[in-house]
């Protein structure tokens, strides 16, 4: 029985770490801020979740297991929010995403109109 648990926890850990590594590569390869942000946001959350699940499987006593569950819930809640906030702040400060040539003019127009409406504060 514990072989199955060991194997599955090893598998989860492996997937988790693979995701994190891919996130890292993503940062290096992608051209601009938003795409990099996307790479890290997605892989970060999932990778961390997988590693935690792997640890849960691996853990022995209940207390550690409970703590790991709490941490899992927290990361699932938090990391998407952080990436959202990061993107919002970048946009708010006027960082333009790098688009292909033709859609550039069109999107910047409606962006301006939205911009003036929202930033009263």
């Amino acid at each position: 029985m514990d072989i199955v648990i060991n194997f599955s926890s090893g598998l989860c850990l492996f997937i988790g770490s693979f995701l994190c590594v891919s996130g890292g590569i993503g940062i290096l390869r992608f051209p601009d801020f938003y795409t990099r942000m996307h790479a890290v946001g997605v892989t970060g959350t999932l990778g961390a979740a997988m590693i935690l699940i792997g640890l849960m499987l691996h853990s022995t006593d209940l207390l550690v297991f409970a703590k790991l569950v709490m941490i899992l819930l927290l990361t699932l809640l938090l990391s998407p929010t952080t990436s959202h906030v990061l993107a919002k702040a970048a946009l708010h400060n006027g960082l333009m995403p790098k688009l292909s040539q033709n859609t550039l003019e069109q999107s910047s127009l409606d962006l301006k109109s939205k911009e003036t409406a929202s930033s009263k504060f």
Partner: protein, 337 residues
């Protein structure tokens, strides 16, 4: 091995801080520096210190600096102030220090005088004398309770100092104005407000957990206070300073800060009046160990209150000053468009 890696990372971050011109990046790097040093402390088995460094070094100090640069602008002028005399001075002090390290006991050697003279008693006898597993808390709260009292007064002085420098007489804002600010904020930070509404109770709960778990694991008054303050600051940032002021009014917070210090002092006075020396918890109740527990509990509670209220005072005054400046600028712009 891990600490070598962390140290080199710290070195890289430090050099980056020198090179950077943009203050925002420098502050972020100093936050990272705090986090790295916290993880180094974990590698060095100093869990309590790691907790505090993460909460204070990485958390609050970065936060406060960010609030300040929103007021003072982000760019640093290019010319170096006076690089060469500074370099010379630094090389001399560095050389002296390295000269000093030559005779130091090797890193982690068990027979160093540090481990052989005063420390063994803490490790061996603290269970019988005080009876709590976390030796650091037992030193902090009982063996060297006066140090912590001094440190609490330092925090209290910083709070009073910031009050003395930045506090301004508040004009009560009318009810409807708060609502206006509220909904504009709502529309702005919809996602974070929802998430914080979920998270806030857990953060406060976690703070209380850390507060009372100090005897058994890493934690204690300081960390709990800082986490508690972080929760309030998060609330203030997202739901507007004026609403936060209604939730936590300033006079009350100052009162708590003062009572925290008084509580700490009174624990000492009570033990004094019961016949022991100052801060001698054995005299707090008939059984020595129970006295120690009671003493440490009260002390941690006092520290938690004061640190939380002082951090809140500091943040609210910083944010208040910023808000007043913004409102002055707006009036200024309206007067001369």
């Amino acid at each position: 091995m891990i600490d070598i890696v962390l140290l080199t990372l710290l070195l890289v971050v430090a050099i980056a801080i020198i090179r950077m011109k943009d203050l925002f990046a420098v502050i972020m790097l100093s936050g990272i520096y705090g986090l790295l040093s916290a993880s180094f402390f974990v590698a060095m088995d100093a869990v309590d210190v790691a907790f505090t460094e993460a909460a204070v070094g990485a958390g609050i100090s970065t936060l406060l600096m960010l609030v300040v640069i929103t007021m003072t602008g982000r760019s640093e002028n290019t010319t170096r102030h006076k690089p060469f005399p500074a370099l010379l001075l630094v090389v001399i002090t560095g050389g002296l220090l390295i000269y000093g390290t030559l005779d130091m006991p090797y890193f982690g050697s068990a027979d160093a005088p540090v481990h052989s003279h005063v420390a063994p008693r803490y490790i061996n006898d603290s269970m019988q004398e005080i009876g709590i597993p976390n030796i650091v808390t037992s030193i902090l709260a009982s063996y060297r309770a006066f140090d912590t009292f001094g440190e609490l007064v330092v925090i209290f002085t910083a709070g009073v100092g910031v009050l003395a420098l930045l506090s301004i007489v508040r004009r009560p804002i009318k009810g409807d104005k708060i609502a206006a600010v509220n909904d504009s904020m709502h529309e702005q930070h919809l996602v974070i407000r929802i998430v914080t509404k979920i998270l806030l109770p857990f953060i406060l709960l976690f703070a209380l957990y850390v507060q009372f778990h100090g005897d058994f694991g890493p934690g204690g008054g300081f960390q709990a206070g800082v986490i508690f303050a972080a929760a309030i600051i998060l609330y203030a940032m997202l739901f507007g300073l004026s609403t936060a002021r209604i939730v936590i009014n300033q006079a009350f917070i100052q009162l708590i800060a003062a009572t925290g210090v008084l509580l700490y002092g009174c624990v000492g006075l009570v033990s004094l009046l019961n016949g022991g020396n100052f801060f001698d918890y054995n005299f707090l109740s008939n059984d020595a160990i129970a006295g120690q527990h009671l003493g440490i509990l009260l002390i941690e509670w006092a520290v938690g209150c004061t640190v939380a209220s002082v951090m809140i005072i500091i943040f609210f005054n910083f944010a208040d000053y910023r808000e007043r400046q913004l409102s002055n600028e707006n009036q200024h712009n309206q007067e001369s468009p």
